[in-house]
């Protein structure tokens, strides 16, 4: 059974911690919003996008969701604004302050 993260905050009692600190379940890091790390974010200009998807594999933070072979808007809850995708786009469909 998947662990209930709501009981595992930093104020949790030792009795509430999962046995052996094992977390049953997957991808619980989604609850941790690394998007707060940076103010500067890439902008997705959908009208310029050709859906080539070259921005998808280069994202270190899995922040470019793909559905039905098309990329969607950035996951700003987690995007750290590294700017790699800006350089990977051949069509100028991603812009970010400070990245040419």
């Amino acid at each position: 059974m998947a662990a209930d993260l709501s009981r595992l905050g930093v104020k949790a009692s030792w009795k509430d911690l999962t046995e052996g600190m094992v977390i049953a379940g997957a991808g619980t890091s989604r609850d941790f919003h690394t998007g707060e790390w940076s103010e500067t974010k890439p902008e997705f200009l959908e009208d310029k996008c050709k859906q080539c998807l070259l921005c998808v594999p280069v994202c270190p933070d899995s922040c470019i969701p793909v559905k039905d072979r098309k990329r969607l808007e950035f996951d700003y809850d987690h995007c750290k604004g590294c700017g790699i995708c800006v350089k990977a786009c051949p069509f100028g469909a991603i812009t970010m302050e400070g990245v040419e």
Partner: protein, 393 residues
């Protein structure tokens, strides 16, 4: 029904493992435990077990692989001695903190240096704070019986901690003695099927093992781990009781030998307890009120029960087959003396370091210890509380 055999301690433990038929056994040879994986490899080679035997390239890897296998949901174990245990040191802590059921067949041997292949307890004593349950044997029968009980303790839902089953190098591991074995079916039924709760190979729910924990969590994690140790005492007793109904052989947290009315007592671990029993018998025949407390469960340490058992004793010698380099004695001495102090005991107590690197302990040596206790009582003074037994000055 049991069957009588003549076996070395290593073969007895290997047979227990064959009867248990664990899932994964990674191992690396080191004297004097080498025979355990050797015997087991031949069982695997002849189809007597369907265990995955993994001959790894080091002890660090044998414990690492055993941890991986246990986390994956398999019943696993390894065997080692001395420097092999030292080499897997960090892994001992990881196995325990992950709350992994796991067994280590330890054959006690001196740690280097100088390099020495014979018995003392410096290897396992150094691991006493690693979070493992430690059980010790006096002879091959006890080593076998402890191994049969090991997984029941380790896998118990209130415990889920690794267990170290210790026997004395060469003295127990290689000496052939009479032994009574259980039938294969009896062991299989006693140990039962392993049914892990959360495990890596659970198709219903993936898990993540071995996190980074910040300060907010670390201390709570260690406290939660200690809870398993607190439960272990009762579980060890319960499993022993069930084992007694199967085998007729009774075990507790420790053995009391002529202790009931004893005024002087020795507390010790392992094979030298047999020698001490001979000394006790001899002195008892002369009307002397002497006795022995032989530790079976060293971690967790049954301090209250030991203090209770020593209640009537006026003078105690705690025997350590390991140095502590505290200038006070060894680890067992520290624990027993603390237990006596906490129980407000007024017994005089001394701590002997003995038997290092296979140094022989004779009946006369133990008689000398009892004589020293007698002197202490007469003087009402323990004198030097940190002593060496059988050392050339």
């Amino acid at each position: 029904m049991g069957k009588r055999e003549r076996l070395s301690g290593n073969e007895a433990v290997a047979i227990a493992l064959r009867q248990i038929n664990p899932d994964v056994f990674p191992a690396f040879p080191i004297t004097p435990s080498t025979e355990i994986p050797q015997y087991f490899a031949s069982y695997a080679a002849n189809g007597q077990v369907d265990t995955e035997f993994i001959p790894v390239e080091s002890e660090h890897s044998s414990m690492s692989a055993a941890i991986g296998a246990s986390a994956a949901g398999a019943r696993s174990l390894t065997a080692t001695s001395s420097c092999g245990l030292a080499y897997m040191w960090e892994e001992l802590y990881i196995a325990a903190s992950n709350r992994l059921p796991l067994v280590l067949a330890l054959v006690n041997r001196a740690l280097s240096g100088p390099i020495n292949i014979n018995c003392d307890h410096s290897d396992s004593m150094g691991a006493r704070d690693s979070g493992w349950i430690q059980m010790y044997a006096e002879n091959n029968q006890e080593a076998y019986d402890n191994m049969v009980q090991a997984y029941r303790i380790s896998e118990h839902k209130d415990v889920r901690l690794p267990v170290m089953i210790c026997q004395d190098g060469f003295i127990t591991s290689h000496a052939v003695e009479n032994i009574e074995l259980l039938e294969d079916e009896e062991v299989k039924n006693f140990v039962g099927e392993y049914e892990p709760e959360n495990y890596l190979l659970n198709p219903e729910c993936p898990i993540a093992v071995g996190p980074y924990a910040v300060t907010d969590y670390y201390m709570e994690a260690k406290r939660a781990q200690a809870e398993g140790m607190r439960h272990a005492v009762q579980v060890v007793k319960d499993v022993a009781k069930e084992f007694a109904s199967l085998s007729g052989r009774e075990y507790g947290l420790f053995e009391e030998y002529c202790l009931e009315d004893a005024e002087r007592a020795v507390v010790m671990i392992g094979s030298a307890a047999g020698t001490t029993k001979d000394a006790v018998d001899k002195l008892r025949a002369d009307g002397e009120k002497v006795g022995l407390l032989k530790i079976r469960l060293f971690r967790p340490f049954p301090a209250e029960e030991i203090a209770e058992a020593l209640k009537g004793v006026k003078a105690v010698a705690v025997m350590d087959r390991a140095e502590g380099y505290s200038n006070q004695g060894g680890p067992l001495g520290a624990d027993v003396m603390a237990a006596l102090y906490r129980s407000r005991s007024e017994a005089l107590a001394v701590n002997y370091v003995y038997g290092l690197g296979g140094r022989d302990v004779r009946v006369e040596d133990m008689e000398d210890v009892f004589a020293a206790l007698k002197q202490m009582r007469q003087d009402q003074d323990p004198g030097e509380t940190y002593r060496y037994l059988g050392i050339r000055e």
